[in-house]
């Protein structure tokens, strides 16, 4: 294809957009090296002291570990539920599969705060408030729609005839799934998993309702910290979070290619 030279107007627009989107995030990085006691930009002095504070802050590390564990559990559960669900909806086309799909993906449309409130009411009555399990189940409500969408799209993109050809060659349904379907939707699986992890890892709204002294996640802990103090510790944590997110995206990109993973 012939590549067109972008006009100066396009260049300016793109630059402005980039600045608008990225500069606030990039400001966080120098802030984390501030030597001051408050979040002010630009800082008057520079130091690594807030990374040191972070290192010795057990509450933050505890919340970070909780977030990692919950993220991992949520990712595994999401795939275990969404994959069979997507298969039934797309491949078997059972009666009402359209309705199932819409039900599963409905949480995407609802305000998160409403979901959080609803879950709070239910969980309060069954004693799941303030537990890691409760938070994980709450996150599942949010991650399932994404995962189901990605996996349904991946399955739709895979021609049924490919699976039928495998069957005609003597492969039983489970073998077809393992040797043909699974490898071919692997990019979808990786991106569904990565997205689920990220959604769970940086979820605040629903988690605020469900977290308690025994179980709290890193974003909630950061939120609480900001309520009482505004020191650059938050900036240091943010840099850590940005790095982790970038790492996940890079891993996904390396294994399957960014464009095929998130845009499908």
């Amino acid at each position: 294809m012939e590549e067109r030279k972008p006009s100066w107007l396009l260049k300016v627009t793109v630059t402005v957009l980039f600045v608008f989107l990225l500069v606030p995030v990039l400001v966080i990085v120098p802030l984390s090296f501030s030597g001051e006691n408050t979040l002010r930009f630009p800082p008057d002095s520079w130091s690594f002291r807030w990374y040191g504070e972070l290192w010795s802050n057990d509450r933050m590390w505890g919340a970070f570990r909780t977030s990692l564990v919950i993220g991992a559990v949520v990712t595994v559960l999401t795939i275990l539920i969404a994959l069979p669900a997507a298969y039934v909806i797309v491949r078997l086309k059972v009666r009402g599969s359209e309705l199932l799909y819409n039900l599963f993906t409905a949480p995407l449309l609802l305000p998160t705060i409403v979901i959080g409130l609803a879950i709070l009411i239910i969980f309060a009555s069954v004693g799941l408030l303030g537990t890691r399990l409760g938070i994980a189940l709450g996150h599942l409500v949010l991650t399932l729609p994404y995962a189901l969408r990605i996996l349904a799209t991946a399955l739709n993109a895979l021609a049924v005839t490919v699976e039928e050809a495998a069957a005609s060659l003597g492969a039983k349904p489970l073998t077809v799934f393992r040797r043909i379907t699974l490898p071919l939707i692997a990019p979808g699986l990786v991106s569904a998993g990565a997205l689920s992890f990220l959604v769970s890892f940086d979820e605040v709204v629903v988690t605020l309702f469900l977290a308690g002294p025994e179980a709290t996640t890193l974003p909630v802990e950061m939120f609480r910290h900001l309520e009482s103090r505004s020191d650059p510790l938050i900036a240091a944590i943010s840099v850590l979070l940005i790095s982790l997110t970038l790492a996940v995206v890079l891993i996904v990109h390396r294994s399957i290619g960014f464009s095929t993973s998130f845009t499908r």
Binding site: A159, T161, V162, E164, A165, A166, A167, S168, L169, G170, A171, K172, P173, T175, R179, I180, P183, L184
Partner: protein, 382 residues
Amino acid sequence: MAPTRHPAKPLNMTLAEADMRHGTGQEEPAAGGFLSLQGLGKRYQGFTAVHHLYLDVPRGELVALLGPSGCGKTTTLRMIAGLTPVSGGRVLVGGRDMTSEPPYRRDMGLVFQSYALFPHMTVERNVAFGLEMRRIGRAEVAERVKEAVAMVRLQGLEKRRPRELSGGQQQRVALARALVIQPSILLFDEPLSNLDAKLRDEMRTEIRDIQQRLGITAVFVTHDQAEALAMCDKVAVMNAGRLEQLGTPTELYERPANPFVASFVGRINRLPAMAMGTKAKVGERELRLTQPMEGNIEVMVRPHRIQLEPAGSAATESTNRVQGEIRRTTYVGDLIQYVVHVDGLNWSVEQPTSASATLSPIGAKVDLSWRVEDTLAFKSAG
């Protein structure tokens, strides 16, 4: 040596010969073909895709399912393969009832229009897949994959992925993948429709060659009548879920069973007439029929069976003739196509260029004559 299960057989095996083979065959029943469809039907809600289809395919024959889109030919093929459940009837292979067997136990090779190769596997892995499913030893798999790849002339491309191959090469891989398992039956679902014209002709010959060399029983779904006539031992013409006629290409072309087959297989001219015994009246003229009929009929003649003669030539006992006026002439090298106005209808007439050295001018009054035995006649509908 190519993988063979059935002994190679000579070209153009006739029905009688096939039946004789059945007599000496081991597991086949006395009647019917190696593949036998008995009252096969498929109903969807408020719509019947296939009505009580009976079809016998003798061992080693290539039979086409030919028809317009939506005629039920692909549904029939999918029911044979076990990919679509039947609503009624049975599928027998070598006398064994396959109707309720899942596709993976039917031992049939499938070649799809979309090739349906495994995109994450190399050519070699694609071809080996069916053998691995049969738990065949590694050495034998390698040997048979090599044979199959050689048979479809893809040597040197074993390590390529499907997306690195052209359409024709991909279809060859699909063919090798289906052949290597030495299936009892080979099923083709419009395998050539995605290829360009030149490649299509090439693959036609190649598929037919391999099918005959291996003596494999095959069903070939197509909407292209030229393909069906050129490749297949017999053609089953389907329309609206029903079998219209089963016959050899010659039978279909020369003795179509009904107007649908007559007009779907090859081109044809139609003329309404009134039949009285072996005579039919068209305006003032009288046509002779090959067999006695009564009432309103439709007379049909193939364009290239018609001779153009000067108007007023005398009729003979063995020919029919009607009058017309030339409306258009098209010279296409090996033949000249005329559009001739006959009784308010446009007929098409084709003359080889050697026979008519001069082009008849537009507006010329001509007689169209053809042999009585080339006259097809059908009762008018309604």
